[in-house]
């Protein structure tokens, strides 16, 4: 029964995309269809998570009835199920936000008729990448979500978006080609792309060959996950997109890369000794990312830099690679997806209330929009790792795992992690002090409401939604969606105990690939 749900994760959004494309002239019907498609996917994913967690065995679907080494398998284990549930929830929340924004703006800015189909294709690609049982299917999932993301990023085709889009598209293309080349090499070395079979066959290869294959794959994924030396594209491209699009990109697209790194590192290449390079790269990602964030005046760019920086924590967890570390990493991924998406939506609200996203222009928002201020405050404390929020719990888990496998480098990383956490808090509190706490009268160049509106008008020409914001208000749907996502981040804190148990069980599956292999090949590998 439960195996029938697995293809639905990809099929429902795809069918929804086709229908919404046909119904391009009926925006209301489009909204109904895309919201219900994502709701159904969320429900299906939740059921799958319950089933998989209860039985402890992955659900395997042989697409088209072909046996694994020849056909495609879809595998939902605990890790995939957790990722699918969280991302489906986020996608749904952001979709509601986008609908609210569309209604509030009366669709002036964006051609919404293509927004819904593209958004659903992005979801389908995302879910496909999470449940893919072979490398090539994962590549196809990546390409689906990337192609959709190119369209979403350049939505409306304004100058700044096209410029940002070019960087993003070219970088993504290169990383995809690296991924594809790595798949070709792996196929040449082992004669298969099914991950369960690769898990056995790669171990039989000489270690140096394993190393080359592993690094080739990792570089492709690291570009997507924005790991340090390959992360410069991210803060330049994400912030120009419309607020809901940035939220989805920030929350989910980099995490697919991290998910892929976990899969390849633990399932395929667990013999390859990559701990030291991964630790160094993870530490640099943390520090350089957060130092970049400190230098930013634009809240969206600042958040993009914290996004890069916190990817470092996940790489740190993957590098240590013990059961506890993996559990903490998965918990941290869940936390970070939720909190980053929510914060970007809050910035979307700030942009509309304050008319800008630059902290040099914002001020007095606490008085003007106390509710938005409360949402931002909770999200910021959470991301900054203040106890008792989930950001703190995730970091405690990671640090504990680090302390259990001691070496000088790990201790250096722990210090870097603590500093990064503090600096994140500092960066976000700067936003809080400037945008919310300081009175409007202290904003530079402020003289009277009339002159203020004149000064803000040049922003309308820069092509982003900033200009619209001076006149718009937040609809109830937008505030509701953001509140819902912030509530999820709080729930991650409240239910941290059971959730940590779940991610710990997921980590057991990840660390011992035998379960995965046996579920795909019940009678032993060919």
């Amino acid at each position: 029964m439960s195996s029938a749900l697995v293809p639905l994760l990809v099929l429902l959004p795809l069918i929804g995309a086709a229908v919404t494309l046909i119904l391009g002239r009926y925006p209301r019907l489009q909204i109904v269809i895309s919201v219900s498609a994502l709701t159904l996917v969320t429900a299906a994913a939740a059921v799958l998570l319950a089933v998989v967690d209860h039985s402890g065995e992955p659900v395997v679907v042989r697409v088209g009835g072909w046996e694994p080494p020849f056909g495609i398998v879809l595998v939902v284990d605990r890790l995939s199920a957790i990722m699918v549930v969280v991302s489906a929830l986020m996608l749904l929340g952001v979709l509601v936000f986008a609908v609210g924004q569309g209604i509030a703006d009366r669709d002036r800015d964006t051609p919404v008729s293509i927004f819904h189909p593209t958004y659903l294709i992005l979801s389908a690609g995302l879910f496909d990448a999470f449940i893919a049982g072979d490398l090539f299917n994962m590549y196809v999932g990546f390409e689906m979500l990337l192609a959709a993301s190119y369209v979403l990023l350049t939505l409306g085709g304004t100058g700044s978006r096209i410029r940002a889009g070019v960087t993003y598209v070219v970088v993504s293309l290169v990383s995809s080609l690296l991924f594809l080349g790595a798949i070709a090499l792996i196929y040449g070395a082992t004669g298969t792309v099914t991950m369960a079979l690769l898990s056995e066959r790669i171990r039989a290869l000489p270690l140096d060959v394993q190393m080359i294959l592993c690094v080739a794959l990792l570089i492709g994924f690291a570009v997507k996950a924005a790991v340090f030396p390959l992360s410069f594209w991210l803060p330049d491209s994400y912030p120009t997109a419309p607020a809901p699009v940035t939220a989805v990109f920030a929350g989910l697209l980099t995490k697919v890369g991290v998910y892929a790194i976990i899969r390849t590192d633990r399932l395929l290449f667990f013999d390859v000794p990559l701990m030291v390079p991964l630790l160094i790269v993870g530490g640099l990602t943390m520090l350089i990312g957060i130092l970049g964030a400190l230098a930013q005046a634009d809240v969206k760019r600042l958040l993009s830099f914290t996004l890069v920086s916190h990817i470092g924590y996940m790489i740190f967890g993957v590098a240590i690679g013990t059961e506890l570390a993996m559990g903490a990493t998965i918990y941290y991924i869940v936390h970070h997806i939720a909190v980053q998406t929510a914060l970007f939506l809050v910035v979307g609200l700030i942009e509309r209330v304050g008319g800008s996203t630059s902290i040099t222009r914002l001020g007095g928002l606490l008085k003007k929009a106390p509710f938005v201020a409360a949402l931002f405050f909770i999200g910021a404390l959470n991301l900054g790792g203040i106890p008792p929020f989930s950001g703190f719990l995730g970091k405690v888990g990671l640090f504990e795992a680090g302390a259990q496998s001691p070496s000088p480098l790990v201790y250096a990383l722990l210090a870097a992690g603590a500093i990064t956490s503090l600096l994140t808090l500092y960066a976000l509190m700067r936003v809080w002090n400037m945008a919310f706490w300081r009175p409007k009268a202290e904003v530079e160049g402020y003289e009277s409401p009339l002159i203020e509106s004149l000064q803000e008008s040049p922003e309308t020409t820069n092509g982003t939604a900033t200009g619209v914001a001076t006149a718009t208000r937040n609809s109830a749907l937008m505030t509701g969606a953001t509140t819902g996502l912030i509530a999820i981040t709080v729930a991650l804190t409240v239910f941290a105990g059971p959730l940590f148990g779940l991610t710990q069980r997921a980590a057991v599956n990840v660390v011992t690939p035998e379960v995965y292999v046996e579920s795909v090949f019940p009678g032993g590998t060919p």
């Binding site: 196809v140 100058g159 096209i162 070019v166 070709a184």
Partner: protein, 170 residues
């Protein structure tokens, strides 16, 4: 596994030139570079299917030891389709970026040649319509006058049809 040296050399050249061209600033060159590197990757996948000259798989046929491996071909085909789609998107991106850099945001309000023609045609059509309507009213006025005369004179209001028109009526 043995592979054809020609293809390996070709692939290497395509990778090299592709990466070189991609490093240019111009978007069109980046696209050309992407096409070269993409097809070099396709060749790489193809090389993984073994040496040339092996028999393909046919339905109902025997599978011998030297039958060619069909999976890389499938992977390649998928990759080609994906590259094709992405290329189309990049072309649209290049066109849009050219449009913006040459005309700016105001360019969106500039009419293209076709639109201009259409606008002119529409104008002409309006004029034609107006002239037709004025002709109609003129004819109607004449007819009305004729009817007025007809009441006085007795003979039918419409003039006698000519010989030819009668033929047509039959």
């Amino acid at each position: 596994m043995s592979a054809s040296l020609t293809l390996v050399v070709l692939m290497a050249i395509m990778y090299g030139t592709g990466v070189y061209v991609m490093l240019e600033r111009s978007l069109t060159r980046i696209l050309i570079g992407f096409l070269l590197v993409g097809n070099a990757t396709n060749l790489l996948i193809f090389l993984m299917s073994g040496r040339a000259g092996s028999a393909p798989i046919v339905p109902g046929g025997e599978v011998a030891a030297d039958t060619v491996d069909p999976l890389p071909q499938v992977l390649m085909l998928t990759a080609i389709v994906i590259n094709f789609g992405v290329t189309a998107f990049i072309l649209a991106l290049i066109y849009r970026s050219w449009w913006l850099s040459n005309l700016g945001d105001e360019g969106d309000d500039v009419m293209s040649d076709e639109e201009k023609e259409e606008a002119i045609e529409a104008e002409n059509a309006d004029e034609l319509q107006a002239s037709l309507e004025s002709d109609d009213t003129a004819v109607l006025e004449v007819l009305d006058e004729d009817e007025d005369h007809g009441d006085d004179d007795g003979p039918p209001a419409t003039p006698e049809p000519s010989e030819r028109e009668r033929d047509v009526m039959r």
